[in-house]
């Protein structure tokens, strides 16, 4: 039972050549892409106000005032959408003993020496880092974002509090954008990953190479599931 937390609803193995492994349900994928699109739009509209050189980005949103209006609303969408992802993924992102070992061998991760790494479950320590830092950053961003949402909430805080909020919002946004870059890069670098979020499945080889513990667990479950009724 000890590793059961790692398998999420809808994860399953389909034997064949190659083996395919279902990793994300259609619901999870739609949820992910809503979150992704909102985050990109937030980053673009936010950066437009962050630096004068980037003010031209307001053109994407129909001008300065519209950018100012739309940004917080997308923020609200992002918050709820990410909350959906959080409920889906938090369990499989709990920290495990092998994550420490994995992280200690980050050099082998970066140089592609998978064979020197411990077997990990559905998510490795890097993915867990992205998950938890995004969770924390989005909480910070929504909180500070509401404080500086002057059109509706200006009366609830003092100017001094708003100053802190806008500074923290900007710093948290920089961190979130950087984490996002790491996240997207990892998905591109580790071939065969993106199809998990488009088609919902990965190949058995991908699961074997990167998330062997998860694969073993799924295979174990599949065999149990099949043998139980026969017993």
């Amino acid at each position: 039972m000890s590793t059961d937390y790692d398998v999420e609803k809808g994860d399953s193995v389909h034997p064949g050549k190659p083996v395919t492994v279902d990793r994300y349900t259609a619901g999870a994928r739609v949820n992910h892409w809503i979150t992704a699109i909102s985050l990109v739009l937030l980053a673009l509209s936010g950066l437009a106000l962050f630096h004068p050189r980037l003010f031209f980005l307001t053109g994407l949103f129909g001008g300065g005032p519209l950018t100012r209006i739309i940004h917080p609303w997308i923020g609200v969408l992002l918050f709820f959408s990410f909350f959906g992802l959080f409920l889906r993924f938090w369990k499989a992102n709990l920290w495990k003993r092998e994550d420490g070992t994995w992280l200690a061998r980050i050099r082998d991760v970066l140089t592609g020496h998978e064979e020197r790494l411990p077997e990990v479950g559905k998510y490795n320590a890097g993915q867990k880092f992205v998950f938890w830092s995004m969770s924390a950053l989005i909480i910070v961003l929504i909180t500070t974002g509401l404080i500086i949402w002057d059109q509706y909430f200006s009366v609830f805080t003092t100017i001094e509090q708003k100053r802190w909020a806008v500074l923290i919002h900007a710093i948290a946004a920089i961190c979130a954008i950087s984490v996002w870059i790491i996240h997207v890069y990892a998905a591109i670098w580790v071939r065969g990953t993106i199809r998990a979020m488009t088609r919902g499945s990965v190949t058995g080889g991908w699961a074997w190479r990167h998330h062997r513990k998860w694969l073993r667990e799924l295979v174990g479950k599949a065999s149990k599931g099949k043998s139980t009724p026969a017993e």
């Binding site: 630096h51 900007a170 058995g204 080889g205 074997w208």
Partner: protein, 314 residues
């Protein structure tokens, strides 16, 4: 008495300053004009103010604003705060002087100070929404304003207000449109006691010096000029009878400066922030060049097939 600005000619005259005279423009870099215009200033002599609010009326009239009819809550301040329709406000304070046990009625005309180093302009993200002319006037250009409220966070004097109708920011313009054609500000024109006077900054300082000498001779030992150096000086100055305690005048800040939080936000955060994002992107790019893609091998696929193949099949 300081001679008031004479009435202008009725003939149209070209404006005395304009876009060519900008020394600062929000979210933009400007090449300052070779020749700076003479700095102007408005001097508000608090000791002479009788609290008649003629200046407030003149301001409403000239700027054609329409403040809401307010409610009386038992204080003289009317309206109760600056609003997008009220660029200047008489703030009344009843102060008991601990030295004389006298009740002093302090009346300060609040409004934009036209800082030499304006925090509003520093904070503003919209190119050209706030400008500063070489004569020192800080003006909001509404068609460039996006209504974000950053100027409110930047201002050390709590001045700008955002209209819930037009969603742009408003504050005292120092009657830039009047001054451009050789007039003085409407409030100065209306003031019956000459508590508000307008001229060049040097003239105003000189005039203030005379007033301060006078006040000192009447027992106000701490009378002085409020021209705070923390914001580089201002183009609206006060003569205060208690210049050592500006905060007793309805919270006039003692030694105001642009908040260090705002400085950090608009300074190091901006550069470090873009650098961090750039670094993250560059690191990814470099890693890809050096390490190349991480591909699943044939052996990986076979291992997975073996793993599943070992399972009992129906």
């Amino acid at each position: 008495m300081f001679p008031p600005v004479p009435n202008p000619t009725t003939q149209p005259v070209p404006p005395k300053f304009g876009d060519q005279d900008l020394i600062r423009r929000s979210a933009s870099t400007v090449t300052p004009p070779a020749q700076r215009q003479t700095e102007v200033a408005k001097l508000i002599d608090v000791s002479k103010c009788i609290g008649c609010k003629a200046c407030q009326s003149a301001c409403i009239e000239w700027n054609d604003t329409h403040p809401e009819i307010g409610i009386n809550t038992g204080v003289y301040d009317n309206p109760h705060d600056l609003t997008p329709d009220m660029f200047t406000l008489m703030r009344f304070t009843e102060w008991e002087n601990p030295e004389t046990n006298n009740l002093e009625w302090l009346i300060r005309k609040d409004g934009c100070m036209h800082c030499e180093d304006p925090g509003c302009l520093k904070a503003c993200p919209a190119p050209g929404a706030i400008v500063q002319y070489s004569n020192g006037i800080v003006d909001f250009i509404h068609e460039n304003c996006i209504g974000c409220g950053y100027c409110i966070k930047g201002c050390p004097f709590n001045i700008p207000r955002i209209s819930q109708v037009t969603h742009t920011a408003y504050k005292c313009t120092l009657c830039s449109d009047r001054i451009a054609v050789g007039q003085g500000p409407a409030c100065a024109k209306a003031c019956p006691t000459q508590a508000i006077v307008f001229g060049t900054k040097d003239e105003m300082k000189e005039h203030a010096a005379g007033r301060i000498t006078d006040l000192k001779s009447r027992g106000f030992a701490n009378a002085g000029l409020y021209d705070p150096p923390g914001v580089g000086g201002t183009h609206v100055m006060y003569v205060l009878h208690h210049a050592d305690k500006p905060e007793i005048y309805a919270g006039l800040p003692n030694n105001p400066r642009i908040s260090p939080i705002v400085e950090a936000w608009k300074g190091v955060t901006k550069y470090a922030g873009l650098a961090v994002i750039g670094f993250a992107a560059a690191a990814g790019f470099m890693h890809y060049l050096v390490a190349g893609p991480n591909r699943v091998s044939e052996e990986d696929e076979e291992a997975a097939e073996k793993l599943t193949g070992e399972e009992p099949r129906p």
